[in-house]
């Protein structure tokens, strides 16, 4: 079966910045591919290239077998785009928005109305359908945006950071909506900064950084390579940090990460809770020095570190990353 998306050696330069630096990527049909990477990795540029909004300088890019450079019109009729785009017009109602997009897909007024109704129903927006979108909550707008990308019945859905800026509940609702779409046979390619999002939604993940793919695999494969979990402890007294770090180092293969300022030491371990429980005795010696201890999923930079041996060069935590990983025992 033809892959949904095939990128070979894609390059794109914006002035001084090299946004895409030889990106290779394949999204197979019938799956959800998550493109995971930090800010500036090239995720949005990649999605824009697939959506024919930007032309790559070099390399090949095919959507469902059609070259985006030679057949952009065909590509546009096959894709739906949602996420960071303000597809929704605040001064129109939800229904008007969906009908507008449907008509722009060439549907007749009657078909547009029917499809709009279907999508409104699908996303639980029927009650709010005739209210102006400026009265909608953030979560409702995102759902409408997602709906707008579907009203044309696309073959491939492109989602650019779909849950950025949403509160946890809206996030989960959107995930459910996306999962339902996948069950109905739409191919999905989404970009995200959040490992848990990629983990929850995708059957395949490609990690990109600096415009290149640096790892690809199923979520399980990647986590195995990067370490399943992270044990993180909060040390009471900074004098004990070195001692605690040494104890933690016994749990895994790599180096413990130390943050002096917050007195946190974290260590990627190959297995999760089970291991922690088994190895608890070895931590007893440093027990009194610990203020708290948690097991959590690896954050993106820890995955990077494990995969590339280099730490992620992220600037200060972006204001968008409001969703901290909850400190739960997995």
């Amino acid at each position: 079966m033809t892959p949904s998306i095939e990128a070979v050696g894609l390059t794109k330069r914006f002035g001084e910045t090299l946004a895409l630096d030889g990106l290779d990527l394949v999204a197979e049909a019938g799956q959800v591919l998550a493109v995971l990477g930090p800010n500036g990795a090239g995720k949005t540029t990649f999605i824009r290239a697939v959506a024919t909004l930007v032309q790559a300088d070099g390399g090949e890019l095919r959507v469902a077998g059609h070259d985006v450079r030679r057949e952009p019109g065909v590509v546009r009729s096959l894709i739906g785009l949602a996420g960071q785009y303000a597809a929704v017009e605040p001064t129109m109602t939800g229904r008007e928005n969906l009908e507008m997009i449907a008509r722009l897909f060439g549907q007749s007024r009657r078909d547009a109305r029917a499809n709009a109704l279907r999508v409104l129903d699908q996303f639980g927006l029927s009650e709010a359908a005739d209210r102006l979108v400026r009265t909608y909550s953030g979560g409702m707008r995102r759902k409408l945006d997602l709906g707008a990308s579907l009203v044309g019945e696309p073959r491939i859905l492109l989602l650019d950071e779909p849950t950025t800026g949403l509160d946890p509940r809206a996030r989960i609702e959107l995930w459910d909506a996306i999962r339902t779409l996948v069950e109905h046979g739409t191919d999905v390619v989404l970009t995200t900064q959040y490992l848990d999002e990629a983990d929850h939604l995708a059957s395949q993940i490609v990690i990109i950084d600096h415009g290149k793919a640096i790892a690809a695999g199923t979520p399980t494969e990647l986590k195995q390579r990067a370490g399943h979990s992270v044990v993180e402890v909060h040390v009471r007294d900074s004098l004990d940090i070195v001692r605690v770090a040494a104890a933690l180092a016994e749990l895994g293969d790599g180096e413990p990460q130390i943050d002096e300022a917050t007195r946190r030491v974290s260590m990627t371990v190959p297995a999760g809770t089970a291991q922690l429980i088994a190895e608890l005795p070895s931590l007893v010696a440093v027990g009194p020095a610990l203020e708290d201890i948690a097991v959590r999923h690896p954050k993106l930079d820890e995955v990077f570190l494990a995969l590339t041996g280099q730490s992620l060069e992220t600037p200060a935590e972006s204001p968008k990353r409001r969703n901290r990983q909850p400190a739960a025992v997995a």
């Binding site: 033809t2 019109g73 065909v74 001064t91 129109m92 722009l104 060439g106």
Partner: protein
């Protein structure tokens, strides 16, 4: 093997232009501040010039109200255009234009939709400003066909300025910047024959005022609606101003439409 594109999945130029234009018009009409402020501001301007300043301005053989209203109507065409520069900049900034470009519609429909919406808004505001003009005492002194010609000319001027403002909107980064740059239209509306006769200005301003496009446009509307009295006051028959104003309008479209299109294509 490539997947075939679904057959009906492309909108025609006319239907996509209509849909995009409808959205542009609704966006304006449903933003109360824009509609109310635009109309109120215009009406206030007219009232101030007509009743407060009017007595002090000598307008040749025409009564001031008959002199003023053509100027007011023509310059309101320009002020309306400023709004579309902001609208275009806002659409670009918010990603709406991008969204449209990812759809299987003819590329030009984004711009044609914008122009059609603007023209519809223009006709609407022309009707309102003309009505206000009549309400404060403006009267026709030319033939009815000439008056209709004046109306049609205003639409043509609006079309020409629309391209200028669309290009401006595409070039400025934000709606605020677009509005700021749009204010540069002020010298053209004020240093013209719109509100006062050019001959009343100091010599060094007159050469600019006498030959700039807004003066030509205002005077053609004035000559067409006021007939003989205007010709005497302005020194030339209607045809003189009509021809020159249409030349200016053509030049503006030729200069700015390709600029707007190129900027849109480059994205």
């Amino acid at each position: 093997m490539a997947i075939a594109a679904p057959a009906a999945h492309r909108a025609s130029l006319s239907s996509s232009t209509f849909v995009i234009a409808k959205r542009g018009a609704l966006k304006f009409l449903r933003t109360p501040q824009l509609v109310v402020v635009g109309t109120l501001q215009g009406a206030m301007f007219l009232l101030i010039f007509r009743y407060v300043f009017g007595g002090a301005i000598s307008s040749g053989g025409l009564s001031y109200v008959n002199f003023l209203v053509p100027g007011f109507i023509t310059s309101s065409v320009l002020f309306g255009g400023m709004g579309s520069a902001s609208a275009v900049a806002e659409d670009l900034q918010a990603g709406f234009i991008d969204r449209l470009r990812s759809l299987p519609i003819p590329r030009s429909s984004v711009l044609t939709g914008r122009v059609v919406a603007d023209m519809a808004m223009l006709v609407w505001s022309l009707i309102i400003t003309t009505a206000i003009g009549f309400a404060v005492g403006f009267r026709l002194h030319g033939s009815v066909p000439a008056a209709l010609e004046a109306f049609a000319l205003c639409i043509a001027f609006g079309f020409a300025f629309d391209w200028l403002f669309i290009a401006l909107g595409m070039i400025s980064g934000t709606p605020q910047a677009a509005q700021g740059i749009g204010f540069m239209v002020f010298p053209f509306t004020f240093i013209s024959s719109a509100y006062v006769p050019v001959l009343s200005m100091p010599g060094w301003l007159q050469s600019f005022a006498a030959n700039q496009p807004v003066t030509m446009m205002v005077n053609s509307v004035r000559a067409l609606t006021q007939g003989q009295a205007a010709t005497a006051a302005l020194g030339h028959p209607a045809g003189y101003f009509v021809v020159r104003s249409l030349l200016w309008a053509d030049a503006m479209v030729v200069a700015f439409a390709p600029l707007a299109v190129a900027r849109y294509r480059r994205g």
